[in-house]
C-alpha cells in the first residue's frame, strides 16, 4: 500500500477552486454563456426553419465551390437526403448548428494560438502538454465543472466540444508555419518585410493547406463529441443515440449512428476539398 501520509488532496483543492469560481465569477460565466447561446439558437432557428431543399441546395453550392466536382456534389446531396429519409432531419440540423458553432469557436481560438506557438518556442513547450491533456482527459471530468458554471444544456456541450476538438487546429497551424521553407522567409526578410508582412504575406498563405487539414480534423472531432454532448442536455442526433441505449432500441441507435457518420462524411469531403484548393493560389486555375 502506498503510504497515506503522502496523499495530496488535489480533489479537494479543485472542488474549492470551482466553488470559488462559481461564487465569484458565476455572473460573468453566465453572460458569456448567454452570448454563445444567442448565436447558437439563431443558427439553429435558421437551419431548422429553412425548407429541407434549401439546405440541400446550400450544401450542394458549398461543395461545388470547394471541389468543382459534380460527382462529389451528387454524393453529398444523396448523403444528406438519406439523413432525411431516416427521419432524423430536424435532429441533424440541431447537431449541425452545434457543430458549426463549436468548430468556429475552435478555429477562432485555435488559429491564433497555433500562430503564437509557431512564433515562440517557449509558448510551444508550455502548450504541447496542455494540448495532450485536453485530448486525453476523459471529457466527463471537465463536463462536471462546466455544468456547474454554465448549467445544463447547449453551452457546456459547446465548451466540452471545443476543449476536445481545438487541439488539432492548434497543432497543425503551428506545424504548418514551422514547415514553411526557411529560405522563402529569409528572402522575404531580405526585401525588408516586417514581421507582420511575413506572417500574413508568406507564413500563413503557405501554411494554409496544413491549417485546412487541422480545421478538417477539428470538425471531425467535434462530430464525434455529439453523443457525449447530448448527455449534458444538448439536443440532436446524439440524443437519439442515447435514447437508443437507454431503451435498448438497437434500431433507433443504429439509425442515429448512421446519420452521424453521414454528416461526418459530408463535412470531411467538403473540408478536404477546401484543403486541396488551398494548396495553390486560386488564380492558378486561370493560368
Amino acid at each position: 500500500m502506498f503510504p497515506e501520509q503522502l496523499n495530496v488532496p488535489l480533489g479537494k483543492w479543485v472542488n474549492q477552486f470551482v466553488d470559488w469560481l462559481v461564487i465569484n465569477y458565476g455572473a460573468a460565466f453566465e453572460a458569456f454563456a448567454d452570448s454563445l447561446l444567442t448565436v447558437l439558437v439563431a443558427l439553429e432557428q435558421v437551419l431548422r426553419g429553412a425548407p429541407w431543399w434549401v439546405v440541400l441546395i446550400a450544401i450542394a453550392a458549398i461543395t461545388w465551390h470547394a471541389s468543382k466536382n459534380w460527382k462529389l456534389v451528387l454524393v453529398l446531396v444523396v448523403a444528406m437526403f438519406a439523413i432525411g429519409m431516416l427521419g432524423l432531419w430536424d435532429k441533424a440540423m440541431q447537431t449541425l448548428a452545434l457543430m458549426i458553432v463549436a468548430t468556429s469557436l475552435s478555429v477562432i481560438i485555435g488559429v491564433p494560438v497555433g500562430i503564437a506557438m509557431a512564433l515562440s518556442n517557449r509558448l510551444r513547450a508550455v502548450m504541447l502538454p496542455i494540448l495532450d491533456t485536453m485530448q486525453t482527459m476523459p471529457s466527463f471530468v471537465y463536463l462536471i465543472p462546466a455544468l456547474m458554471l454554465f448549467g445544463l444544456g447547449k453551452v457546456p456541450a459547446i465548451l466540452a466540444t471545443v476543449i476536445y476538438a481545438a487541439p488539432p487546429v492548434m497543432r497543425l497551424t503551428d506545424l504548418g508555419i514551422r514547415l514553411v521553407d526557411p529560405e522563402v522567409i529569409e528572402a522575404s526578410r531580405s526585401f525588408g518585410a516586417s514581421r507582420k508582412q511575413i506572417l500574413f504575406g508568406v507564413q500563413l498563405p503557405l501554411a494554409l493547406p496544413n491549417i485546412m487539414a487541422g480545421i478538417n480534423q477539428t470538425t471531425m472531432m467535434s462530430i464525434s463529441m455529439v453523443v457525449i454532448a447530448s448527455m449534458i442536455g444538448a439536443r440532436g442526433l446524439g440524443e437519439q443515440v442515447l435514447m437508443g441505449i437507454q431503451r435498448l432500441d438497437v434500431g433507433a441507435g443504429m439509425e442515429a449512428g448512421i446519420a452521424i457518420v453521414l454528416l461526418a462524411v459530408v463535412f470531411d469531403r467538403i473540408g478536404q476539398a477546401y484543403g486541396k484548393r488551398s494548396q495553390r493560389n486560386p488564380s492558378a486555375e486561370d493560368a
Binding site: D181, E186, A187, S188, S190, G192, A193, L206, A284, A287
Partner: protein, 342 residues
C-alpha cells in the same frame, strides 16, 4: 573609404558566443575553439572593402563562412563583433524599422534555391519587393513587367514557380532583386543549383546586365571558374578566415598559399589571364618597328592570342596597347609559355 566596409567581423555560433570570442581574438583556430567551448566559428576576423560598381566575388568551399558573410551585409545575421558600413552609414546601429527601410530601398538578394514565393505567380514574385515598399499596384506591375521582359521571361507572368525550370526560376529571382533598383545586389550561390550550360548562360546574362547597370554586386560561389569569370575582385575564405583578396589574375598568378594554389591548378589560364598581366612592360624593352603593326588591347584574354603563336615559332611579338592606344608593353611566345607552364 570604400562603399562597403567590413571591419574585423567575428561570428561565433553557439549558446554563449562572447566566451568563445576571447579565444578567437587570442588566435585560436576553428577546431580548437570547437573542442574547448563547443562553439562554431563562422567568421574569424574578416575585413573587406568593396567599391561601388564592382563585382566582388567571395569564394570558398562549404563551411568556409561565405554564406554567413553575405548575410551580414543585410543583417540576416548579426556579427558577434565587428563593424559594417554602407557609404559611411553604420548598419549595425540601425533599429528594426530603419533596417527594414534600408533593405527595401538599397539591397536586393538572389538565393541559391531561388527563395521564390510558391503561392505567387511570376508577376507577383517580381513585384514583391515593391509591394513591401508599399508602392501602388500600377507602379509595381509596370516595373515588374519591365524586368520580367529584361530577363527573358515575357509571356510567363501568370505562371507559378513550380511550373518553371530551375534556370527560369532564377531569372525570376534576379528580376525580383533588380525590380526595386537596389544599389547593391547580393547573390548567394545564385547559379550553383543550375545545370552547367544554363549556369554559363546566366553568368553571361549577369555580365551583360552589369555593363549597363553598374550595380555593386557581391557574389558568393564555391566555383573558382565562376569567380574568375564574374569577379572584378575575388576574396577567398577558408574556415571563416580570409586567405586572399585580389583581381582574378593575381589569384591565379600569385596564389597566397598552397590552399589557393590547389584551387588554381585546374583553372583555364588562357581564359582568365589577360595580355596586361603577362606582357613585358614597356620600360623593360623598347618597341621595334614590326611590333607596332601587331597591336592588341591590354584586356585581350590569352585564349585569343595563343592561336597566333601556335602557327610558327618565328611569330613576332605583339605590342600591347592600353585604352587610349598608347603602347604599354609587349607580349611574345616566351611570355606565354612561361605563364601557361607555371
Amino acid at each position: 573609404m570604400s562603399y562597403i566596409e567590413i571591419r574585423n567581423i567575428f561570428k561565433i555560433f553557439g549558446p554563449n558566443p562572447k566566451s568563445a570570442l576571447e579565444l578567437a581574438k587570442a588566435g585560436s583556430d576553428k577546431d580548437e575553439i570547437l573542442a574547448a567551448t563547443g562553439h562554431t566559428v563562422g567568421l574569424h576576423d574578416v575585413s573587406l572593402s568593396i567599391e561601388q560598381g564592382e563585382t566582388f566575388v567571395v569564394m570558398g568551399l562549404s563551411g568556409s563562412g561565405k554564406s554567413t558573410l553575405i548575410r551580414h551585409l543585410n543583417r540576416l545575421i548579426d556579427p558577434t563583433s565587428g563593424e559594417i558600413s554602407f557609404g559611411g552609414e553604420d548598419i549595425l546601429a540601425m533599429d528594426i524599422p530603419t533596417l527594414n527601410a534600408f533593405r527595401r530601398k538599397r539591397l536586393g538578394m538572389v538565393f541559391q534555391r531561388f527563395g521564390l514565393l510558391p503561392h505567387r505567380n511570376v508577376m507577383d514574385n517580381v513585384a514583391y519587393g515593391l509591394e513591401i515598399q508599399g508602392q501602388p499596384r500600377k507602379i509595381r506591375e509596370a516595373a515588374a513587367a519591365k524586368w520580367i521582359e529584361r530577363v527573358g521571361l515575357a509571356g510567363y507572368e501568370a505562371k507559378f514557380p513550380d511550373q518553371l525550370s530551375g534556370g527560369m526560376q532564377q531569372r525570376v529571382g534576379l528580376a525580383r532583386a533588380l525590380a526595386t533598383d537596389p544599389e547593391v545586389l547580393l547573390m548567394d550561390e545564385a547559379f550553383s543549383a543550375l545545370d552547367p550550360l544554363i549556369r554559363s548562360d546566366m553568368q553571361d546574362e549577369l555580365m551583360k546586365l552589369q555593363t549597363e547597370l553598374h550595380k555593386t554586386i557581391v557574389f558568393i560561389t564555391h566555383d573558382l571558374d565562376e569567380a574568375l569569370k564574374l569577379g572584378d575582385r575575388i576574396a577567398i575564405l577558408k574556415d571563416g578566415k580570409l586567405i586572399q583578396v585580389g583581381r582574378p589574375e593575381e589569384i591565379v598568378l600569385h596564389p597566397a598559399d598552397d590552399y589557393v594554389k590547389a584551387f588554381t591548378r585546374d583553372v583555364n589560364r588562357g581564359r582568365v589571364l589577360r595580355a596586361r598581366s603577362v606582357m613585358q612592360p614597356i620600360s623593360d624593352q623598347a618597341p621595334t618597328e614590326q611590333m607596332t603593326e601587331n597591336k592588341i588591347n591590354h584586356d585581350t584574354p590569352l585564349d585569343e592570342i595563343i592561336p597566333y603563336f601556335l602557327g610558327s615559332t618565328e611569330a613576332q611579338p605583339f605590342a600591347v596597347v592600353d585604352r587610349d592606344g598608347g603602347i604599354v608593353g609587349t607580349i611574345g611566345r616566351d611570355n606565354l609559355l612561361d605563364v601557361l607552364n607555371r
